[in-house]
Amino acid sequence: MAATTSYQPKSRLGKWFEARLPVMGLVHSSFIVYPTPRNLNYWWTFGAILSFMLVVQIITGVVLAMHYIPDAATAFNSVEHIMRDVNYGWMLRYLHANGASIFFLAAYIHILRGLYYGSYKDPREILWILGVIIFLLMMATAFMGYVLPWGQMSFWAATVITSLFSAIPLVGESITTWLWGGFAVEGPTLNRFYSLHYLLPFMIAGVVVLHIWALHVVGQNNPTGIEIKSKQDTVPFTPQATIKDSFAVVCILILFAWLVFFLPNYLGHPDNYIAADPLKTPAHIVPEWYFLPFYAILRAIPSKLGGVVAMFGSIAILIFVPWLDTSKVRSAVYRPIFRQFFWIFVLTGIGLGYLGSQPPEGGFVIAARILTAYYFAHFLIVMPLVGLLERPKPMPSSITESVLAKGKSGDGSPAETGA
């Protein structure tokens, strides 16, 4: 990053400071003059959206933590206290709860964008793996956060998920007891989940710094998947990317506001407004919507251990994507066959999400098994084989050429490269 810095402090104070800690130069080279491909489309704004949402979650979360009590007897009522008596507490809580949903929505789009345009390929493997780690940390954070209101779904989600560890042979029971801090989900479990829920977002922030660092070392991918070859291929981050990202963030904020102010409980489960009761199991235990595909995979496998392995495997498999994809071409724009399979994969994910929300019986189980098998087949069979068998479309020689060609004729997939 330092190599591209052209930052010249103007004031005496600025020069004095820069000589001692070149942080302004770092910001300047990373977010002002940083060369970004000129052909990025709006799918590339989700990194900025995610950064913004992380900040929203941390700020609302820190204030909520000032009023919340992580105690099994009072947690539920302390959330209601926030909703009723804390100034704008209802807004903070609804922002935080729905913020998690927007965060995951943006993360899924961000991940799918990477899968579509081959952003995981050489030399961006580490960048991609750091992203998978952030995703895992997000899931842990969201899960533990969902437990904190200590409603029925909080309690039973915690019970279901922590019990999964008991499927591990030999040491499973001990691990589960250790996680619970007792012999069932109870006060100590809530207390430690609160502690970790406060810690993990800062770990996410740390890995995000690494993620952006890795991004700035290897440079951004772009819709053509062709590396930057000349200065002509790029525009400076500010103002071009900054203004575009800002616009995208505000568009997402409209969706966010729609949920927070008019549909605050749309994505939640009514049972979570019933205080946790260890003696009463809800008729259907379902996680938040963003976990539903993985929940469907968990329940699709008839054995408990098998289900746990499949569920964690369905996320862990992402780490190996850079090596499972055998194609020399990055972007699906030039991969006619892979592009079709990509959309089938998206449909599979949505289908699994729907099945995760339904009771595990009859046709739903059979459907979940078929889609789970296809989910893994996409990575283990489709990705390696299509890469070898497919004949890619002719590619432009540079980003600039693709941009200028698009301006002249209608050919060259304007839908994918358009901005």
Partner: protein, 297 residues
Amino acid sequence: MSNATRIAKDPAMKKYFATLTAIAGLIALVLAAAPARAAGGDTPHYPIEKPALESWSFAGFFGRFDSAQLQRGFQVYREVCAGCHGLELIAFRNLTEKGGPNFSEDEVRALAAEYDITDGPDQSGEMFERSGVLSDYFPSPFPNDQAAAAGLGAVPPDLSVITKARGVSRGIQWTLLDFFTQYQEGGADYMHALLTGYSEPPEDIEVSDGNYYNPYFIAGPSLAMPEPLFDELVTYEDGSPETIDQYSRDVSAFLMWTAEPHLVERKRIGFQVVIFLFVFASLLYFSKKRVWASVPH
């Protein structure tokens, strides 16, 4: 030659497209067939009947509570429900809230004074009774759940957040549509349907002793609460109809307020926020166009 014709003429491509269509078709078939198979599953699904959609003053983009309705609803709660159900998250002072029931402070002071509140310990270490003040919370009818269960055969749930704690799934297609229509009144609809839904059980459904058949009950064919409302049970002073339908409508609206007391403020601020964001977004959009005008992209 366009891409489409090139692909159409390639025999390998044809074969591939056939496979592709088969996979997509299979996924669609699997998803379409799943609910049909599941309908024959072992677990019975409740409620037997789905609640009807009612019209509420607090629904939608400009939703507001109707203070007169909330006052009537509170009267129904106090004269009928409060015998068994608590309202422990609500303080007397809340009843004066503007945009809520909007009772006058004097009315609520007088009301609170009618309740005996256990306070203490005093300086000699004894608990004592005193009359309620604005800052007191509604005392629950039973000292604890065990006492309630012993007296009634079941624990009556606290009603403070009940309208947010009940919701009947409307199926995937309606759920998706609800995002655009801002439907958030499932709890009130459920409450109204339940309170007006008691009927004679059909012959094939067995109702256990001490339970009452209600096809709208969310957790089974019958519940331990007997039909609570009857025509002319509560005397309204504003001339509103004294019917089961009106009572249940009013008390459901009141319980929506207890569950979401800041609803009116939320929608008012939300309206301002959405307007602001649309203006801000359009300014950014035109700035973005201007910044990018000289760069083909």
